[in-house]
Subunit: 224 residues, 2 copies
């Protein structure tokens, strides 16, 4: 009999989760040097699990790890973001197509609920946008998981995580927000009705659209 009580995760994983969350939240700005001793003290462990967590974060593309030089929070240049979205545009439509024929009813319900929540929330303040970003993350994660391909998930793991600051602009632009919500709803319906092509095409459009908007925004000198 397996204990249902969540087994104590190793210290390395706790540090990993904490650091990942901090980086995504923008607490460590790109370029920041992550020194093991300071982090170990800050997180209440020794340097060993911190070091291991940094290796994991490098695998996620969140930090750059040079031998003997230490770890640095990676920056996300315009070109790099374009690259990232281009790869997402290759993978996620396929994930959506697979999800359309495999998603469990519970996940389908959750997808609909996420659409409802996002459409109902019209605020522009920090908290409302943080909600939108969280819902958006869960929406995409749900689809990827429903695709039921471990390799697909693995390939996307290094692409899902970028500091949320880069995504804020989507929800400040009324046009982009409307487009995103429409895409999500269309995706939800396509998956609910089991239409792989519709889901795939919508997801491709969704990501390519986001990519171009992001590139456009970042080309401007400074807006937010």
């Amino acid at each position: 009999m397996h204990s249902m009580a969540s087994i104590a995760p190793t210290s390395s994983l706790r540090v990993y989760d904490d650091l990942r969350e901090s980086i995504l939240a923008g607490q460590y700005l790109p370029g920041t040097r992550l020194r093991t001793a300071a982090l170990a003290e800050r997180l209440g462990t020794s340097r060993t699990p911190v070091r291991e967590a940094l290796v994991l974060l490098e695998g996620d593309g969140l930090v750059a790890l040079e031998p003997r030089r230490g770890a640095v929070v990676r920056g996300f240049a315009t070109e790099d973001l374009a690259d990232l979205y281009e790869v997402r545009a290759l993978l996620e439509p396929h994930a959506a197509a697979r999800a359309a024929t495999r998603m469990t009813p519970e996940a389908r319900d959750r997808l609909a609920a996420l659409c409802d929540l996002a459409e109902a929330s019209t605020g522009l303040d920090r908290a409302a946008i943080a909600d939108q970003i969280a819902w958006n993350e869960e929406f995409h994660a749900t689809i990827i998981q429903a695709a039921g391909s471990a390799r697909l998930s693995a390939a996307l793991r290094g692409l899902a995580g970028i500091p949320r600051a880069f995504r804020t602009s989507f929800w400040l632009s009324p046009h982009q927000r409307a487009i995103s919500l429409a895409c999500h709803r269309e995706l939800q319906v396509a998956i609910a009705t089991g239409s792989p092509e519709r889901a795939e095409a919508t997801m491709r459009m969704h990501i390519v659209s986001a990519r171009d908007y992001l590139i456009e925004v970042m080309r401007e000198p400074r807006t937010a």
Copy 2:
């Protein structure tokens, strides 16, 4: 002035390279438990860098690492291999298209040389097939690198490595061997002449064909 002498790689990376090569060569069969103490002694280091190497290998999808349970060499079930090739079929054609407009002349020459070598070698013995597999790996790696997308490379890193035993059957089948060589030559020419669509279509066909053959072979009870 920087020293050109290659800086001593950290012990962790040496262990990583060694283990990765051993697993790909089939020296550790799927299901083998990788115990840190034994590996450390075998490789002449302590358990710390071995542990770090195992984390890296997990990122490559070569070992499964469960907390408090240790590391196990991952198996490659038919279904998993189909998954893997499906994702490759999404990513590598795009890499080929990009490579067609970006590859350096030196890499182009190397591609042609690899085709020449592979076409000239007609043996069926172990050594000849090992050569074919090595040339094939370098061929694909050259194209992926020429694509010039760090994110694409990262997404493919977890997909490039499967034990070479799974690839042996390709080169034992005269038909598959002929198809593969033809695809590679076609890819080389498409890239040399700067035709992205041709490169992309050929690569897609190449990978999907390989996938289906692999599935077919593995469906049989036992051949090799």
